[in-house]
Structures are given as structure tokens and as C-alpha cells.
């Protein structure tokens, strides 16, 4: 372990970490919004629309993120979509994760007991109020643990952005390794940064989960 080399490369590693966090949070936010919209559209029960959404989900879940990203960045210009590496990276993460988030939200909606909705209908609530006040809170609460899980998975998918030259942590680490022939030190530093990120996300996730399930009895709360 060469601390002198690490120290010399600290600024570029830190900036790489910053880019990673930025791409991850922007991509994750985009994926959450998009996934939520997809799940809502799915509830409209329009057969052709459902079919389209299904295809979208299957394509983005069924192919490697690496391939999607490469197609978006390298193939985009052929259909008039010229994106900077970072923009393509964020958009790619967003599209990829939206397929998973859509399924998570759909599962959340499906987990709402039908009786809760019937109770709302039996007092004469409007469909929008039923969705907004009854279905949605129940569905979102059920969706929090898998959402946190997916965000953690996504934080590690960001390494793939290095292949389209986004200057994120992996990219900086590879540069350092190539320039100094210190493969082990560089990988160690990178692992430490990712661990930091994942630890932070899962702690925030645990707090969020505790908050949204505060109304549940101890024994009914998911462990």
C-alpha cells in the first residue's frame, strides 16, 4: 500500500466519487419518477398501453445495463440523439432502473388489501381520493424496502458508466492504476468509497422505513 500515491490521486478520486454520487442520485431520481409514472399508467387497464409498457419493462430488465448504455451513447447519434457522456450515463441509469422501480410500485399497488379500497368506495369517496388517500399511501409504504434495495444495487451499477468515459470513480481509479501500476491500492480505495456510499444509503433507508411504518404494531412491522 503506497500512501503517497493515494494521497497524490486523492483529488481525482474524490472528484470521481462526487460524479458517481451525482450520477447515481440523478439517475435514481429519474428512475423513480419514470417507474412511478409507468406503474400509474399500467393501472389504467388499457390493453395496448399495457402491452407497450410491458415491452419497455422487459427490454430494460432483460438486457445488460452495459449494452443499454453503449447503445444509448454510441447509437444515439444515429437517431439524432447526441448526448454528453454524463448525460447519457444519467439517462441510462434512469431508464434501466425505471423498469425495476415500475415493477416495485406495481407490486406495492397489488399489495393493498382490496378491503381498504372497498371501505373507501362504500363511504362514497371519489376515485382520486381513494387513490390519493388510501391506495397510494399503503402502496408506497409497502414499496419502501425494495426501493432502498434497488437504490443500493443501482449505486454499484454506476461503475459501468466508466466505459463511456464518464469521469466517475471507476474511471478515475482505472486512470490511477494505469499511470502508477498500483492495481491493488486503487481497487482498495474504490471499494472503500463504494462501501461508504452503500452504508450511507442503507442507513438513510432504514430511517425512512422506520418512519413510514411507525404506525404499525411492533410485531406487524417487517424486520
Amino acid at each position: 500500500m503506497d500512501l503517497e500515491v493515494l494521497w497524490r490521486y486523492a483529488p481525482s478520486l474524490l472528484s470521481g466519487f462526487g460524479v458517481t454520487v451525482m450520477c447515481w442520485s440523478a439517475g435514481g431520481a429519474l428512475g423513480l419518477v419514470l417507474g412511478f409514472v409507468i406503474a400509474l399508467l399500467y393501472r389504467l387497464r388499457l390493453a395496448p398501453l399495457r402491452w407497450l409498457l410491458r415491452v419497455f419493462i422487459e427490454v430494460f430488465r432483460g438486457t445488460p445495463f452495459l449494452v443499454q448504455l453503449f447503445l444509448l451513447y454510441a447509437g444515439g447519434p444515429y437517431i439524432g440523439l447526441k448526448l454528453s457522456a454524463t448525460t447519457a450515463g444519467v439517462l441510462g441509469l434512469g431508464l434501466y432502473s425505471s423498469a425495476y422501480f415500475a415493477e416495485i410500485f406495481r407490486g406495492g399497488f397489488a399489495a393493498v388489501p382490496v378491503g381498504q379500497i372497498e371501505a373507501a368506495m362504500s363511504v362514497g369517496m371519489k376515485p382520486f381520493d381513494v387513490l390519493w388517500r388510501v391506495t397510494l399511501p399503503s402502496a408506497l409504504i409497502a414499496a419502501v424496502p425494495p426501493i432502498v434495495n434497488m437504490l443500493i444495487v443501482l449505486s454499484k451499477e454506476t461503475v459501468v458508466l466508466s466505459i463511456i468515459t464518464v469521469p466517475e470513480l471507476m474511471y478515475q481509479m482505472q486512470t490511477m492504476a494505469a499511470e502508477t501500476f498500483t492495481a491493488f491500492d486503487a481497487i482498495f480505495a474504490m471499494a472503500a468509497f463504494y462501501w461508504l456510499l452503500v452504508e450511507g444509503v442503507s442507513r438513510l433507508g432504514a430511517r425512512l422505513e422506520a418512519r413510514v411504518t411507525a404506525f404499525m404494531a411492533e410485531e406487524a412491522r417487517p424486520a
Binding site: 372497498e118 363511504v123 376515485p127 404506525f215 406487524a220
Partner: protein, 256 residues
């Protein structure tokens, strides 16, 4: 208050209701009894159109629910707004309470008052508190459903329905999901409602309660009402073999 005529309902090939006629008068308490799978709950759910029906009429205070009859004799589904307006007048209590788990007892009761009756928050909560007091749960206003016993949850559910000031109340096996020692508190609330003149249609397996509180008992079997009348008649004088068999089974199971 409720008039049901020649009601038919099928699930696929299986006919659940095969021509049910039943009326419930103003302030009358009618208990529906019968074996499981006989169509009791389906019948009850047709009254507020949580379940659609295939033929026949269900009228609430003279108005057909769920459909609109055109002058040329055809029938089309009722508009969503009209249906909501009718449902506001019909309180329903479910076997599994169906409280909203993310709202406190108070907000479970206040929510429909705000969203449906359009009351301001303060007024809705004030009325909700009064309703919780009425079912004996003043001290549980802030509690979430998962922190309440089954009996308490069901009383909150009754308060939620009552707060809407319905003209009639439907009960779908309100005590079937409760531990035996919690049944009494729910039945007490229902008794007091009956005593105040609420129109009630109740699906129940509590024969003792039915015998004491109901003005009329309707026995339903295989989608038809095969016997109805005052409790005394149905429980003690019925010549209908299916009623006698059902009651015999009930007695055998409950004697020790």
C-alpha cells in the same frame, strides 16, 4: 327502506343468487342467516352495489341502485357520481374491519367526513371524536388500527360508517373475525344502534344476537330465501327442513 325483487347474480357458471325477494322497512333490523356459501354476503354487497347484479331490482328508498332503467325498458349502468351519492347514505361494516392502517382511529373516522361530506378539518375531527365516544373509544382516538384489538377496530369501523349519518347500515359478519371474548362489545354497539331506530341489514352467525335484536330473520340457502319471519317463528316454529337442519347443527356445535 330496502326493496329487493327477483335478484339474480352469477359468478361465471355458478348462480349465487337465484331470485331473492326481501324488504327491510324503516327502522327495521333484519338478520340474514344461513350456511356458508349460501349467498348471504353477496346479497348484502349487492345492496350498496359493491357487487353488481345480473337481473332484478335493488331499491334504496325507492331508488334503483347501480343501474338506470331507460323508458324503452333497457337498463344501463348508473353514473359513477350517482352511485357515490347513494353509497353515502348506506353505511357498511366489514368482517375484516377494513380500517386504513396508516391513519389513526380519529382520522379513519374523520377522513370520509372531509373528503366526501367536505367538512373542514376541525369540524370533521370534532364529529369523529363524538362518534368514537359513542362506541366507547374516546381514549383511543390517537391509536393506529394495528395497536387496537379486533373488537376495538370493529367499533372504529362502525364509528366511521355512522359518522356519515347513513340512512341504513349493512353489517357483513361483523363479529366473525373476532376472538370470542371480543364479540360482546361489538354486539352491544349494534344493539344500541338498533334501539335508536337505525335500519339495519345484518349477515351474522350470532344466533343469540339475532334472536334478541332482529325484528325479522331471513334464512337463505343456495341463493334463495327459504324462510323468513320473526325470530321466534324461524327459530322455533319453522317447518322448513333446511332451517331445522341448520339450527340443529348450530345447537350441536354450541352445546357442551
Amino acid at each position: 327502506m330496502i326493496e329487493i325483487r327477483a335478484l339474480h347474480k352469477r359468478f361465471g357458471a355458478h348462480e349465487v343468487l337465484s331470485g331473492v325477494d326481501l324488504t327491510v322497512g324503516h327502522s327495521e333490523v333484519v338478520c340474514l342467516i344461513g350456511p356458508s356459501g349460501s349467498g348471504k354476503s353477496t346479497l348484502l354487497r349487492c345492496v350498496n352495489f359493491l357487487e353488481s347484479y345480473d337481473a332484478g331490482d335493488v331499491r334504496i328508498a325507492g331508488k334503483l341502485i347501480g343501474y338506470e332503467d331507460a323508458s324503452d325498458g333497457t337498463r344501463r349502468p348508473m353514473g359513477a357520481r350517482n352511485l357515490r351519492e347513494m353509497r353515502r347514505e348506506i353505511g357498511m361494516v366489514f368482517q375484516h374491519f377494513n380500517l386504513w392502517p396508516h391513519m389513526s382511529a380519529l382520522h379513519n373516522v374523520a377522513e370520509p367526513l372531509r373528503r366526501v361530506r367536505g367538512l373542514p378539518a376541525a369540524e370533521a375531527e370534532e364529529r369523529a371524536r363524538a362518534m368514537l365516544k359513542r362506541v366507547g373509544l374516546s381514549d383511543k382516538a390517537a391509536a393506529y388500527p394495528s395497536h387496537l384489538s379486533g373488537g376495538q377496530q370493529q367499533r372504529v369501523a362502525i364509528a366511521r360508517a355512522l359518522a356519515m349519518q347513513p340512512r341504513l347500515m349493512l353489517f357483513d359478519e361483523p363479529t366473525s373475525a373476532l376472538d370470542p371474548e371480543l364479540v360482546g362489545e361489538v354486539l352491544e354497539v349494534m344493539k344500541s344502534l338498533a334501539a335508536e331506530g337505525m335500519t339495519m341489514l345484518i349477515v351474522t352467525h350470532e344466533m343469540g344476537f339475532a334472536a334478541h335484536v332482529a325484528d325479522r330473520i331471513a334464512f337463505i340457502d343456495a341463493g334463495r330465501i327459504v324462510e323468513q319471519g320473526p325470530p321466534r317463528h324461524v327459530f322455533h316454529e319453522s317447518a322448513e327442513p333446511r332451517v331445522r337442519q341448520f339450527l340443529q347443527t348450530y345447537h350441536d356445535r354450541n352445546s357442551f
